[in-house]
């Protein structure tokens, strides 16, 4: 019979939990050289011998005092004993700091295994850890592992089984808090054990120490117990007593004892090379974190990413366009039935092909971003930007959500705001994250910039658009901070990972993972919406064409579109967007874009494809738009600005709604505000452009 074991992976941010998770389960969870990438618990399964092991990867946390959403998720899972065994992943190259969490995990009285990850870095530094000695000192089994090279996985699994079957047992060790503290622990213990339900739900020793530490969340738990009054009073008394005795608040005393215990364990088991090295990371930091050059360097890095992406992907995007034109011609010739041919050629190939044509561009962009992420530079960028961002009422940690959203997707971007401790900071960041140019908006920009501006400037204009998106986001953050979310921001402390040379495999994997999402979306939702849009333009068929007019085929096609359901809808909303220089077709495309932003492009693909009667002379979408006399560069810019700012797609809105605490107030505010802002910005740009004679 197979036995089921649940294990939880706990550890500091950026200690390699996710790589161990991937090694154990064979999953390909996102791994990065940036703290706080995992914000949700993720579950995976594996079979080993006669066991079915379910592995839960928890968000990284520095201690069991939780501050932010992601840390609360980790802590609740750990202390509520949902796992049979906790595997504490430790960055061995950073032993003392990582053991701080371990000392708290030891207080849970739960089966605990210590995985000494990144053990190769320690060896490379010429340091030596006596694992068996450390294991004895800490009272738990200890396995050296190297997550990114998949070393030690087998041994870890064996140990998990051994601990589960109680074949491996250790003598329990606790941090000694000294006689004074112990007395207070005993006093509180006598009270808490009276509530059986409470000590069944939570580890007793941990509860007591957290009470002494004055932990808000634990206080809330105890206040709901049957011994609430008595326990809270005693905890208060104990804290006062200890403070009077030691002259320090209890949280400081407890932390001091823990670090004392750790430093004792480390001196006995760790041979350090003591010299103060100027590591390569420090040397690079001297340049990248330079007080004056830091921000300009970041701007240059971003600019290079765009240059790289546009210059290298340009020709390939061109080939893709040629390919889809060819495909449309060939497939069109194969299907005799008119309506079906139109559905496939105009609806699906015209729509989805328009989106997929930009796939190479997306891949190159992901490649460049993954490179900087894995190198460790992105964490520096957050620090460099902190000063600038704090001027706009943003937090240094807001940087990651914005970065994830840029070229990626606002959905994980909004999820990543969970690392922000302060609710106000978090809401502001969530509200501006969708302004970034995500992977779905990128094709819109690439299409229109390609159609109206010379190729040699496209990277630069694109870069300007990104700068504009940041200006809008930061400006809105400032406004929100002044008008709605007054008050101090949380403090910014972040661990900077060492610089690493990214592995080609790591980058390619990441690039592919995100790229695959793009393809999957194109193959599902975009196809679906494209078909709906096509149907909207195709029906009702054969409108009554006014008698006496001799229309060419092209004109007939145009009239058909205008009189279709979608066309009528577009005409109905045209008055609203006319002051922005936009016509009914833009109205349809932008409305459809609420389903997913790529749809803006696919809708134009379908429209221009339907408008072209002879498939033999079909131009690429870019050429069709560029040659269309109803457009002008000014109108295109107005359109792009509207696309940049207006309401996020439906998935983002759903995630926003959930993460904003299911508040309809904020959700409706978001809808109204983004649309109003988009309209105003486009209006100003278009009317000012006309005034200066740019129309």
């Amino acid at each position: 019979m197979t036995k089921k074991i649940t294990i939880a992976l706990a550890g500091n941010p950026n200690c390699g939990k996710s790589s161990i998770f991937n090694n154990l389960t064979g999953a390909r969870q996102y791994v990065s050289n940036y703290p706080g990438v995992t914000v949700e618990k993720k579950e995976g399964r594996l079979k080993y011998k006669n066991y079915e092991i379910s592995v839960v990867d928890l968000p990284g946390t520095y201690s069991l005092s939780a501050y932010s959403e992601d840390e609360i998720i980790a802590r609740n899972f750990i202390v509520q004993r949902e796992a049979d065994i906790i595997v504490n992943i430790i960055d061995s190259s950073n032993l003392e700091r990582n053991l701080y969490l371990t000392t708290q995990l030891m207080e849970l009285d739960a089966p605990l295994i210590l995985a000494m990850n990144m053990s190769d870095i320690v060896e490379k530094r010429g340091e030596h850890i006596d694992y068996s000695e450390l294991s004895k000192l800490l009272g738990h089994p200890l396995i050296p592992t190297v997550g990114n090279k998949n070393k030690g996985t087998q041994k870890l699994l064996e140990t998990i089984i051994g601990v589960y079957e109680r074949k491996i047992e250790f003598e329990k060790v606790y941090v000694s808090y000294g006689a004074e503290v112990r007395e207070e622990i005993d006093k509180i213990e006598k009270i808490l054990i009276k509530d059986e339900a409470l000590i069944k739900a939570y580890p007793l020793r941990w509860l007591i120490i957290k009470l002494i530490e004055d932990d808000r969340l634990v206080l809330d738990v105890v206040e709901k117990s049957t011994v609430a009054g008595e326990a809270v009073e005693q905890a208060e008394k104990s804290r006062r007593h200890l403070k009077a005795h030691f002259g320090d608040s209890t949280d400081v005393i407890v932390a001091e004892r823990r670090y004392g215990f750790i430093s004792g364990a480390c001196t006995q088991s760790l041979k350090l090379s003591v010299e103060d090295r100027h590591t390569v990371s420090d040397k690079i930091d001297r340049i990248t974190l330079n007080r004056f050059a830091g921000v300009p360097i970041f701007a240059v890095v971003m600019y290079l990413i765009f240059k790289f992406t546009f210059v290298l992907s340009g020709p390939i995007v061109g080939w893709c366009e040629v390919f889809f034109d060819w495909l449309a011609g060939v497939v069109g010739g194969l299907i005799p039935q008119v309506l079906l041919r139109s559905l496939v050629v105009d609806g699906i190939i015209g729509g989805v092909g328009g989106v997929l044509g930009f796939f190479p561009l997306i891949l190159f962009m992901f490649f460049a971003i993954a490179f900087f992420e894995d190198s460790g530079y992105m964490a520096r960028a957050a620090f460099v930007m902190d000063k600038l961002m704090s001027k706009f009422g943003l937090h240094g940690k807001s940087f990651l959500p914005l970065m994830i959203s840029t070229n990626g997707c606002a959905v994980p971007g909004i999820m990543a705001t969970r690392t922000l401790e302060n609710k106000r900071d978090r809401l502001i960041t969530m509200m501006i994250t969708p302004f970034m140019i995500c992977g779905a908006k990128l094709p819109i920009f690439a299409l229109f910039i390609g159609a109206f501006f010379p190729a040699e400037y496209s990277a630069n204009i694109m870069f300007l658009m990104y700068v504009l998106s940041i200006i809008i986001a930061f400006g809105c953050a400032k406004l929100l901070k002044i008008l709605v979310f007054k008050g101090e921001s949380a403090h910014f402390v972040m661990e900077l990972p060492p610089y690493r040379i990214p592995t080609i495999k790591g980058i390619l994997l990441k690039m592919w993972e995100r790229g695959w999402m793009y393809i999957k979306k194109a193959g599902t939702i975009i196809v679906l919406v494209s078909v709906i849009i096509w149907a909207g333009f195709t029906f009702p068929q054969n409108p009554v064409i006014e008698k006496g007019k001799n229309l060419t085929e092209d004109e007939t096609a145009a009239v058909q579109m205008e009189k279709s359901y979608a066309g009528r809808f577009g005409h109905a909303i045209e008055p609203v967007i006319k002051p922005l220089g936009l016509d009914w077709r833009a109205g349809v495309a932008l409305t459809a874009g609420f389903a997913a932003k790529e749809v803006v492009v696919s809708t134009y693909g379908t429209m221009y494809s339907l408008g072209e009667v002879d498939p033999e002379e079909a131009d690429s979408l870019k050429e069709s738009i560029g040659n269309d006399a109803s457009w002008s560069p000014l109108k295109a810019v107005s359109f792009l600005i509207f696309s940049l700012i207006y309401i996020p797609c439906v998935v983002v809105m759903a995630v926003f709604h959930r993460e904003a605490g299911s508040s309809w107030k904020w959700t409706s505010f978001m809808v109204f505000w983004t649309t109003a802002l988009a309209w105003t910005a486009s209006f100003i740009v278009y009317q000012a452009g006309l005034l200066f004679g740019l129309g």
């Binding site: 520095y62 201690s63 005092s65 501050y67 190259s93 950073n94 032993l95 003392e96 700091r97 701080y100 004055d214 320090d248 608040s249 949280d251 400081v252 932390a255 001091e256 670090y259 103060d276 990371s281 420090d282 930091d285 001297r286 974190l289 007080r291 830091g294 964490a379 520096r380 957050a382 620090f383 902190d386 000063k387 704090s390 240094g396 401790e421 949380a490 403090h491 910014f492 402390v493 972040m494 661990e495 900077l496 990972p497 060492p498």
Partner: protein
């Protein structure tokens, strides 16, 4: 011999100091302590950006400290 205690803000890059106290709220103290900046810990200032923004090294950890915190971190010379 009396030892001078001063805020981290005044420490120039390259200097090593010992943390004396964290003069902030409970959350502030805990956050820093959890990340390795506890009382009595020796650490080195690697870079300073002015306005209290700085990078310190505690053990083998590099910590980035944002604006407005360095005046609340009291240290003495190591």
């Amino acid at each position: 011999m009396s030892e001078a205690v001063f805020p981290l803000l005044m420490v120039s890059p390259g200097k090593e100091v010992i943390l004396v106290s964290l003069d902030g709220g409970l959350n502030f103290r805990r956050r820093l302590t959890d990340m390795g900046l506890a009382e009595g810990v020796m650490f080195k200032v690697l870079h300073s950006q002015g306005r209290g923004q700085c990078i310190v090294r505690v053990g083998n950890t590099r910590l980035a400290i944002g604006c407005g915190m360095a005046q609340k971190i009291m240290v003495k010379e190591a």
